[in-house]
Symmetry: C2
Subunit: 204 residues, 2 copies
């Protein structure tokens, strides 16, 4: 008897809902995105939503965790890691952040940086997942910054940890300015200043 | 005949509603803040709300415009303007931004930077008022940065305008990190990096 053939490219309802959440929350925020919006965008029923998530908050946590995974993989595979010099890797990372400022604002801005503004007091579980995403990403940069500091700036008083977080502050803030102005260049110019700061710090 | 004596310290319903909006939106965002929440926090009736504002969006625009006015006045009166050297005024501004990181997160974070994340696509009028607040504030800094550039870095390739906006990107982003971590120091350390960058740029 023939068994039904499952299509390995077919996305699960859970994945469709998480993709819809990423798109909608980046466009209009967490609170504005309703369960109905999510079901419509994902093409699933409300029953399917609640089969996959206990609540919208549960989906918010899952969306932030998925964001952390997807972006980790995306940056892990980026070509700047091929540089042998840690400073070249750091500068390559910053230039890469500038290169990927492409398309519409909801396509390149940060899901978790957006959600934090709404949830940091009211939804601690979502906030924790957003924190893990941003601070986990900064930790990856920290190891290259530590290596670069040892080589080029061993006596500097700043810590690699604070500098890694500063790079994320600039990027998050540059998204806010780009959203306000509707102009990607505002974000790009701020990332240029970040690159300039790193060059001055390491005198490269 | 005695006339009723009006109390000059008594705030108008409009002002009470705008203060409530500033507090609530900084805590949980624009969409989560309902007209009922605003009326309760301001101690006014719904009728009074709609006597003062045609809609919640109308209040959002007014709250962003009031924010621009209040913060302009606050920074205009700050002591760093007394410095004769434009670079000292700039560095004084940045240190002042660090000094005022005090109290609870909703008390020192930015109303308009928070709102932008939710409204930039859905509420163009609020977004425009938020843009005017942030970019107007940056313009004030730009004149000191231009003067400092002429004195200390006349040949630099960056523009005073982009540097003024970069200071705002760092501050906005530092708020996101502080909200994520629940730790003001995350914001303070990013502002330290901003000060360090300015010192390196102007070699002070």
């Amino acid at each position: 008897m023939a068994r039904p053939i499952s299509n390995p490219d077919k996305k699960s309802s859970r994945e469709l809902l998480l993709e819809a959440a990423t798109k909608l929350i980046r466009s209009k925020g967490y609170t504005s995105t309703t369960v109905d919006d999510l079901c419509e965008a994902a093409g699933v029923s409300k029953g399917t939503f609640f089969h996959n998530f206990t609540s919208k908050e549960d989906l918010g946590v899952a969306a932030a965790n998925r964001w952390a995974q997807v972006t980790s993989e995306f940056f892990r595979l980026a070509p700047y890691h091929l540089n042998k010099d840690p400073l070249d890797r750091i500068l390559g990372y910053v230039r890469f952040r500038k290169e990927i400022l492409n398309g519409e604002l909801p396509e390149f801005t940060c899901l978790v940086g957006t959600m934090i503004q709404e949830v940091y007091q009211s939804h601690p579980e979502i906030n924790k997942a957003c924190f893990n995403s941003i601070f986990g990403h900064a930790e990856v940069l920290e190891s290259d910054l530590s290596e670069a500091k040892k080589l080029y700036s061993p006596k500097a008083s700043w810590t690699s940890s604070s500098l890694a977080l500063h790079t994320q502050a600039v990027i998050q803030g540059s998204f806010i300015l780009a959203k306000a102005s509707g102009d990607i260049r505002t974000a790009a110019e701020s990332i240029d200043h970040l690159e300039n700061y790193l060059r001055l710090l390491f005198k490269s």
